[in-house]
Symmetry: C2
Subunit: 192 residues, 2 copies
């Protein structure tokens, strides 16, 4: 056991919470460390002691408690199309809230500048979603609902990518109806 004062959990959470709220108010670019420290009631050094850069703080703030790979398990009622639609409708609802969209935009800005961060963003956000979809598709395939030669990777990546694309574009954020149509479009050719 190392001696000395322990890291303050309440400060850590105050920093992440302050970061999240500031991200929604001013965006990634205009977010400053001083602002975070002031709102969190924390010394600047307490931030720099635990995070290397603004991007790291933002990534933790968003991924630790913001837009985490959403917790609802992908249902398995036996009907692949309906299950996917149920799940994606919920996901679309989550990521099109002001909070969800704001955090995703911030993560994108952070990731487009920093390859390490982009990797983490993919691993902790995109990949888990694609994985769940792919796993569910695989079960459906083994049950004979999907053709044996269907490219499950492609389907999963397409579903996630097409919806995130519309969130990032901000012109036509996806609706639950869009999610339904998308599943139909992509699955129609893959179903047995």
């Amino acid at each position: 056991m190392p001696s000395g004062r322990k890291r303050s959990e309440s400060s850590r959470q105050a920093i992440l919470e302050a970061t999240r709220s500031l991200l929604l108010e001013v965006g990634y670019e205009r977010l400053t460390i001083d602002q975070i420290a002031a709102r969190a009631g924390v010394g600047k050094q307490t931030i720099y002691r635990w995070w290397a850069s603004k991007g790291e703080v933002v990534a933790d703030a968003a991924l630790d408690d913001g837009v985490t790979p959403h917790p609802v398990a992908l249902p398995d009622t036996g009907a692949i199309r309906a299950d996917l639609q149920t799940w994606l409708r919920q996901w679309v609802t989550d990521i099109t809230t002001p909070e969800g969209t704001g955090l995703i935009l911030a993560l994108t800005a952070a990731g487009s500048d920093n390859k390490t961060l982009a990797d983490r963003l993919y691993t902790q956000f995109s990949a888990p979603h694609e994985d769940r979809i792919r796993d569910r598709l695989r079960r459906a395939q083994s049950e004979g609902q999907l053709r044996a030669d269907a490219d499950l990777e492609s389907i999963a990546s397409t579903l996630v990518g097409a919806l995130l694309y519309r969130v990032l574009g901000r012109n036509r954020p996806p609706t639950t109806q869009d999610a339904d149509h998308l599943v139909e479009l992509v699955l129609r050719g893959a179903e047995a």
Copy 2:
């Protein structure tokens, strides 16, 4: 006719070219106006006289002569699937070059911070691609190659979104083969 010296076209182009090369070297976040001015051999005021912010310069640099909605018209040989594949293969090749990817990442970073810029990015980059695809799909539909109830908007947006998503993720940049698979996946259910 207004009096006075005219805007220098050579300076304008030097600024945009310097911006493009610097974007590839240091990325959007670390790009500074001083760097641009120095590399372009131009006074800082000459930049601020014509552009309001870094984002504006970057948008012009990328959209004026970088990743412009690529000029090749979408072919119409009568076979919708093959035509789309031909065109998307070429697009994927373009946007996965270091230059193409670098500029797209920069545009994304700029756009995620600035709604006005995001709109322009959509209007001048994403929308033209989706439009061309949609127009070609519509012809195919009227020729009876696609079902009458196929959602052409969805198809176009999905094709563009799924590919851009993989460019932005940077883990698995799309290949020409991915483009082929994607077209197959999305079109299979829409074909008559």
